[in-house]
């Protein structure tokens, strides 16, 4: 087990290197350079000053030199400075966005799992009844309705018409003068709509998945045996079936780890939430290579770690994996 773990962890490094190499190349394949974004179509910038900017950013060097430089900085945990006009360290730009994105995503994730799992079980247990169909319609509605549209409708209804909730942002103006508790309350009110809408939109996938694994487990022989023994239906479902049906969910949880630092551009734009989605989008549009690479590296790390954790948890939870060698 320990050997396996060490092997897995050592494997992460070449994998990460490969990922950075490929992403670095792909990013540079896209037409346009950061200098262009600042200088193109601006009559007041001469060719000489453009060349100077390129030199400043190291864009005049061959691609492999640029990559070598970048990777050696990364080895010292230095993401470099952004190519955007603010020229700030990439790490700073990412760090100032992470708390809000994490908060939002963790709350949404807890709600998503907390709601989707019971919903899925309910649908499986009451398979093909009116309840099951009703649930299907509800979750697919959430999946199908464009979030930006729903968001605007809710903003208009709860914000403009009823004036119950704030419309956008994460703090009210002047909230910095409020006592701590009132500030948290203020922030909670701001987050209510975004979290609710994000959760509504993500219920479908997980609840349908839960429903199908539950149905699969319910059709197993041992469930029939349990029922034949006369075990109460409640216990059959929540003790015998649920335990096994939950196993694949561990994998899904592992997959959602990298998603925690990601964010939807449209969503963040509509609610004026200063999150990672917008940052990444701006980075890509402005060809801000260090920023884009920085975010991708963090995402790649989290994906790899997430997979590793999922495998470990799976092994821990499922004796068949832990002991069996095939």
């Amino acid at each position: 087990m320990v050997n396996y773990l060490i092997k897995r962890i050592l494997m992460l490094f070449p994998l990460l290197l490969g990922i950075t190499l490929i992403t670095f190349t792909v990013i540079h394949l896209a037409p346009g350079e950061p200098v262009e974004m600042q200088a193109s179509m601006n009559p007041k910038i001469s060719a000489a000053s453009k060349a100077r900017l390129r030199e400043l950013y190291g864009l005049d060097k061959p691609l492999y030199v640029q990559y070598g430089r970048w990777i050696s900085h990364l080895a010292h945990f230095d993401f470099g400075r952004s190519f955007a006009p603010d020229n700030r360290p990439v790490a700073d730009k990412i760090v100032e966005r992470i708390p809000i994105t994490l908060t939002l995503n963790i709350i949404a994730l807890i709600l998503e799992f907390g709601l989707a799992i019971p919903i899925g079980i309910l649908a499986a247990v009451h398979r093909d009844t009116l309840l099951d169909r009703g649930i299907s319609v509800f979750v697919f509605l959430g999946f199908a309705v464009p979030t930006f549209w729903l968001a605007l409708l809710c903003m208009y209804f709860f914000g403009v018409k009823l004036s119950w909730l704030p419309i956008s942002g994460i703090h009210s103006l002047g909230s910095d003068r409020l006592p701590a508790l009132a500030r948290y309350w203020d922030m909670a009110r701001h987050l209510l709509l975004p979290v609710a809408i994000a959760t509504f939109g993500s219920l479908a996938g997980l609840s349908r998945y839960m429903r199908s694994t539950m149905l699969e487990v319910l059709s197993q022989d041992y469930i029939t045996t349990a029922r034949a023994k006369g075990v109460k239906e409640r216990i059959v479902i929540y003790k015998h079936a649920l335990k096994n049906a939950l196993l694949p969910v561990i994998t899904l949880l592992g997959f959602s780890l990298p998603g925690l630092i990601g964010g939807s551009v449209i969503f963040e734009t509509i609610f004026a939430i200063p999150g990672m989605g917008q940052l990444f989008y701006q980075g890509v549009m402005g060809r801000d290579y260090p920023l884009v690479m920085g975010i991708l590296v963090i995402g790649a790390c989290l994906t790899l770690v997430g997979n590793l954790l999922a495998d470990l948890c799976y092994a821990f939870a499922d004796p068949r994996i832990r002991h069996g060698k095939g």
């Binding site: 453009k50 900017l53 603010d86 020229n87 419309i167 942002g169 103006l173």
Partner: protein, 539 residues
């Protein structure tokens, strides 16, 4: 608004709101007596984008410009009628040969940290802009300077190699504090995030991606601004911004034509807000690649202009919130020639011109010349709905005279790099933002056709070249006016672009804010005189 920003002409990928005829218009509901001007309250305004840096020499985006414009001053500025006036310079002299400009600086102006403002600051700003290590977009105008010196703490003199009229406008550049920056690397300066200027508002706080807060400068040399605070909220979505406005979270924003015409005419809205309307400093055009044989024939370009109904575009795209553009200047400015012999909407004339150029109607309803169908592609950038609609209307109109048009929309960077810079386009639908000075050398002079330069359509006209050089080489406004009038006549005849429209700016401001006086330059020029009567103050 800094002059530096206005002086710069650059292509806006942003959506510009629509246009008006002549004088600024204001829709305002009569209110009770306003009461005397009073200090207090805050103006909360919204912006789609976040400022990039508050060191104005390093910034090119409009958000940075709007905030820097309140925190810093230039030596000169434009007044509400587009006339130059002294800002940090109380007066200036141009030597009779036009080579030397002497600025007499204002006494008693203080930086926000209490230091005195002197000619040392001006000299530093000049030096940092021309320093090759400074990544600035504004060095070109200043490279024309042969020498600059501070004669005494309140006199600053620059000498040019040859007379250069845009020089005056270039000195609208925000002046930076030498005592905080000299000898330091400007790209790493903390002033980029917490600026210290001489302007009417003092920087207070910047919460990234949420807001920038400014406070009234009690020691401002023109007097303390009435509005105590200026809050710049960053709201990236315009629909959200509009809802924030209605819910009371914003006092000011720019409306889209649809919002202006269709969504804000309720009694309730008009009792809470005042709407304004005046021509924006920008125009939209259809430009032809003049290296292609197809567009080298002047009659073809004239015919396309005749076939396009500009009025219909303004109605369809801007809901009437704009006016027809005949040339590269904004109506109402001194360089704008009110009457040029332009080609109006006239499909019959278009047909005649095309026939004269050798085109005949083909069997599929598309014109043919030498066996080639008259078909071309209009390219435009992604994310600008108005431009796309505009292209669709043009497509329809040209179709009816037998010209087939395809439309291609592309992401900005790819568009500029792979198509504009390489000359790989047939026609483009784009816009220019106009500077305050009428010098348009960079867009129309035949020397500016190298890759990445702005005369990317390859317009070459010896007469225009001569007039452009003459126009920037004299400080005599009458003489300059003659040059620019002549250029407008030539452009109207040549039709290297089909100038489409000048959109209107459509700002809306909370009705509790008073003291707004619409002028040709818009409404924001006297922001420091805006006020909220004591009884109506909320923030």
């Amino acid at each position: 608004m800094t002059l530096s920003r206005l002086v710069t002409l650059f292509l806006v990928a942003l959506q510009l709101a629509g246009c008006a005829k002549g004088a600024p218009e204001q829709q305002q509901k009569a209110r009770g007596p306003a009461g005397p001007p009073a200090c207090g309250d805050a103006l909360v305004t919204g912006s789609i984008g976040e400022p990039s840096t508050l060191l104005p020499v390093l910034a090119t985006d409009s958000s940075s410009g709007e905030i820097s414009g309140l925190v810093y001053n230039g030596l000169l500025r434009y007044d509400k009628n587009y006339q130059l006036e002294g800002d940090l310079a109380k007066s200036w002299d141009v030597s009779s040969d036009g080579l030397k400009i002497t600025f007499h600086l204002r006494h008693g102006v203080k930086w926000h940290d209490g230091h005195d403002f002197t000619s040392r600051d001006v000299l530093y700003t000049y030096r940092v802009i021309i320093d090759p290590k400074t990544p600035t977009a504004y060095s070109e105008d200043f490279k024309q300077v042969q020498s600059a010196r501070a004669i005494d703490p309140y006199t600053f003199e620059v000498t040019y190699a040859k007379p250069f009229a845009p020089a005056l406008a270039s000195w609208g550049m925000s002046i930076l504090p030498a005592h905080l920056l000299e000898g330091k690397d400007i790209t790493k300066s903390p002033l980029a995030r917490s600026p210290i200027g001489t302007g009417p508002y003092v920087f207070k706080q910047w919460i990234p991606l949420q807001k920038v807060v400014l406070e009234a400068n009690p020691d401002y040399w023109e007097g303390k601004p009435y509005l105590s605070r200026y809050v710049y909220r960053i709201i990236p979505d315009s629909s959200t911004m509009y809802m924030e406005l209605k819910a009371g979270g914003l006092d000011e924003m720019n409306l889209s034509p649809v919002q202006y015409q269709r969504q804000t005419n309720t009694r309730e809205f008009l009792s809470r807000f005042n709407k304004y309307r005046y021509p924006a400093s920008a125009y939209t055009y259809l430009g032809y690649n003049l290296r292609l044989p197809l567009f080298q024939d002047r009659r073809v370009r004239q015919a396309i202009t005749c076939a396009i109904n500009k009025e219909e575009i303004i109605q369809g795209v801007l809901l009437g919130m704009g006016q027809i553009a005949h040339g590269p200047y904004k109506p109402g400015t001194w360089a704008y020639k009110p009457k040029v012999d332009d080609f109006g909407y006239d499909p019959a004339r278009a047909a005649a011109l095309l026939k004269e150029a050798g085109f005949a109607m083909g069997s599929d309803g598309v014109l043919v010349k030498n066996g080639k169908r008259f078909s071309f592609t209009i390219m435009t950038n992604q994310g600008n709905d108005q431009r796309l609609k505009c292209a669709l209307i043009i497509q329809q109109r040209l179709r009816s005279v037998g010209i087939e048009v395809k439309i291609r929309v592309m992401e900005w960077a790819s568009f500029i790099n792979n198509f504009i810079d390489k000359g790989q386009f047939e026609a483009v639908l784009l816009g220019w933002t106009l500077g305050q000075d009428p010098d348009i050398y960079d867009i129309w002079h035949s020397s500016k056709t190298a890759p990445k330069e702005l005369n990317f359509i390859h317009f070459q006209n010896a007469e225009v070249d001569r007039l452009l050089i003459e126009g920037r080489g004299t400080f005599d406004t009458e003489q300059r006016k003659k040059c620019y009038y002549a250029i407008q006549d030539i452009l109207a005849r040549e039709q290297p672009y089909t100038f489409l429209y000048v959109p209107d700016a459509l700002p809306v401001v909370s009705a509790r804010v008073r003291g707004i006086e619409p002028a040709p330059a818009g409404i924001f020029y006297n922001l420091i005189k805006w006020y909220v009567p004591k009884a109506e103050q909320v923030n």
